[in-house]
């Protein structure tokens, strides 16, 4: 045997129940026996979504998908396939799910092993600027299937069966939303894709569109068919020039192939798409503000009801979904709602895309089955915390979400569990925070963002976030006073209860969740003037220790000339002059400067 193999074992709940652990031991034993251990790499994956055919094993290269395995089968796979290079036909599963392509190529890397890519199934695999690549991977087959074999109501029923929920953050059941819009009796209806991704540190929608624009188009065309709309609009922020360029190309190519425009795929169905650019206001991600913005008005939310499904764009029934939701639609149609609902947890089906960022080894864009724990995401996929630091918290849901400390690491990722823990799913931002970060400072960062993005319509949001920001600023400057924490809690509670839209209702979340989980850090800042992470510059000082050799490097580097001392003698820092920029600390080669 010359080839190196990578075997992926499915450790989804169902495969585990069907004896995967035992098979894994048998495999191990066999590899040992034949001396193949260093030539076969074993990976574990989360549920591969073929539970009825479990236990599942994938052998790469070649992507041979084995199912229904028994102990003797594993022995045979090792002897026949691995040693003699002859795959065993009777054990191979022939099912061709859309997402399988991803595992065909990436299933052998640990970073991808726990992932399952449905929305991002083609991202990083195909050339996004060439429709042939998408067509070759069963692209637009879902649309054709809907147009040929399904009534509009049939499409909606399939979505209801799938249990798919809105991926923009709120998690509203997609099938219901489509039903409401379809039920409206109106000749003119609209379909909108919300690609106004604004969370700091989030790039799920951008990557999805840049990597595979056609899946979004296909989802939207199916949406148009299901609800009876002929016009769709993609609202995308102007800051994403490449995504816009690729969408434009994709729309042109789809038109050339008769997939957009009149009589799609030689049927009676007509539908077309256009792109509208957003100017980057965060609040325009809120659906009613987004609609106002498309209409040419100022991007401000309005009270609901009426919901857009009843009265949306230009007062017409409008179906508005997020990029990731749209990207899931073709898979639900081709592979079926029942299959889709076999992935995930009881109330949250399918997968979720996250932008994993912050203090984690493998930052990146990931898609995991619902129910994956935060620990698996951070340590198995993310590779843990770099530089030997310890985990402090994870911030989910962007500026609308909360920070969860270590005791919540085993929380499964789904809409309900995250909400119970005190955070939200949000659109998919995930920022890992280590011991070097100050929680008050983090809360201040997010609040500063929402505060400046508040549209100003509701006083509690406009003024309240400003006051909260002022209080946080003074706490980080060591000027906090007793009662500040309670003031923050009261203001936060009030803003949540009295704001019109999701921006205001969620703006206090980062502050409230850090107070709940890291109250002692707030108290230390206020009472003891200590920032334990040594981040808040007003609360730290730099001092020279005895390791100083008097080289003078810090003295030359100091921008305010606060350091004095003779050559080859210990230097000192004048605390009244020091601006705590930290340049001396990073300049010193002898670790002679302490941050205290």
């Amino acid at each position: 045997m010359d080839t190196t193999y990578a075997i992926t074992l499915c450790e989804g709940t169902s495969c585990m129940q069907q004896g995967m652990r035992h098979l894994s031991a048998v495999l191990d034993e066999q590899l040992e026996k034949h001396g193949l251990k260093d030539r076969v790499k074993i990976n574990i994956s989360g549920c591969l979504g073929m539970c009825h055919k479990g236990p599942i094993m994938v052998v790469n290269p070649g992507y041979t998908l084995y199912g229904g395995l028994k102990e003797a089968d594993v022995v045979q796979i090792v002897e026949e396939h691995l040693i003699k290079g002859r795959p065993i036909a009777r054990l191979v599963i022939e099912e061709d799910h859309l997402f399988n392509r991803f595992f065909r190529i990436f299933g052998d890397v640990n970073f991808f092993g726990k992932q399952m890519r449905i929305a991002l199934r083609n991202c990083g695999i195909i050339d996004p600027e060439n429709i042939d690549n998408y067509l070759a991977l069963r692209g637009y087959e879902a649309l054709a299937k809907a147009l040929t074999d399904m009534t509009p109501q049939g499409v909606i029923d399939e979505l209801k069966t799938s249990g798919l929920r809105g991926r923009g953050g709120a998690g509203f059941p997609t099938g219901l939303k489509w039903q409401f819009t379809a039920d409206q009796d109106n000749d003119e209806k609209y379909v909108i894709c919300n690609a106004d991704e604004g969370d700091p540190g989030a790039f799920m929608d951008r990557s999805a569109i840049e990597g595979d624009p056609h899946t979004v188009l296909e989802g939207m065309i199916i949406g148009g068919y299901a609800i009876g709309a002929t016009q769709g609009i993609i609202y995308i922020r102007a800051e994403y020039p490449l995504a816009i360029e690729r969408l434009e190309k994709a729309i042109d190519q789809a038109r050339e192939h008769g997939l957009l425009g009149d009589n799609i795929l030689d049927t009676d169905f007509c539908f077309d798409l256009e792109i509208r650019l957003g100017a980057g206001a965060f609040v325009c991600g809120e659906e009613t503000a987004l609609i106002q913005s498309i209409e040419g008005g100022r991007g401000m939310p309005r009270p609901r009801p009426p919901y857009p499904s009843v009265s949306g764009l230009f007062g017409k029934p409008t179906l508005i979904n997020n990029v990731e939701t749209w990207a899931n639609i073709p898979v639900v149609i081709v592979d079926g709602g029942e299959w889709f609902s076999s992935i995930g947890t009881e109330k949250s089906k399918g997968t979720k895309v996250f932008a994993l960022a912050g203090k984690v080894v493998n930052t990146g864009l990931i898609e995991v089955p619902m129910g994956t724990t935060l620990r698996e995401i951070i340590y198995d996929i993310g590779g843990g915390i770099p530089n030997g630091k310890s985990f402090k918290a994870i911030q989910t849901g962007g500026p609308s979400g909360g920070c969860l400390p270590a005791e919540y690491l085993d929380t499964p990722v789904d809409y309900e569990s995250l909400a119970e823990a005190g955070s939200i799913m949000g659109s998919g931002g995930m920022i890992v925070i280590d011991e070097d970060s100050c929680m008050v400072d983090i809360a201040k960062f997010f609040l500063e963002f929402t505060q400046s993005e508040s549209c100003g319509k509701c006083t509690p949001c406009r003024e309240g976030t400003k006051r909260m920001f002022e209080i946080l600023t003074r706490i980080t400057e060591g000027k906090g006073c007793e009662g500040d924490i309670e003031k923050l809690e009261r203001l936060g509670d009030m803003i949540q209860k009295s704001s019109l839209c999701g921006l205001g209702q969620s703006a206090p979340n980062p502050v409230l969740s850090t107070i709940k989980n890291f109250r002692e850090e707030y108290e230390e800042h206020i009472r003891d003037h200590i920032c334990r992470a040594k981040v808040c510059t007003s609360l730290i000082a730099y001092k020279v220790n005895d390791a100083c050799v008097g080289c003078g490097a810090c003295k030359r580097a100091c921008p305010v000339h606060a350091i004095s001392g003779r050559t080859k003698q210990k230097h000192t820092i004048d605390q009244t002059q020091c601006v705590r920029c930290g340049i001396c600390f990073t300049t010193c080669k002898f670790n002679a400067i302490d941050k205290i």
């Binding site: 190196t4 890397v109 070759a136 069963r138 637009y140 649309l143 990597g211 795929l265 493998n362």
Partner: protein
Amino acid sequence: MANALDVIRKKRAEAVGRIISKGYLSNKRVYVGMATCEMAAGSKEVMKVFRDAVTQGGLTDVYLSQKGCAGRCNLEPTVEVVEAGKLPVRYGKIDAQKAQEIVDKHLKHGQVINEWVID
């Protein structure tokens, strides 16, 4: 009259035909990550090296394509080499100079440059 499913099947067959006619069945396929993030990390220069190698550098039996983001933000730009019958090799943090080395060593002589491989 053909129904929509028949139409799309025909389109798929034609699409596959066009992809193959562009050399997809070459012994080696090279994919360069070209999303905004990859480009910011320098993937355009990397792409140019491979393109020049294919158009002027005498590199044959190689299918070159761009791709979207595979999610490895900290290792961009990424380059993937898929060789018939072998495990795909993914390189991370590739610049123009490294790309040239991949052309010279891996693509021309089959030597995988292990130190840049993502695992």
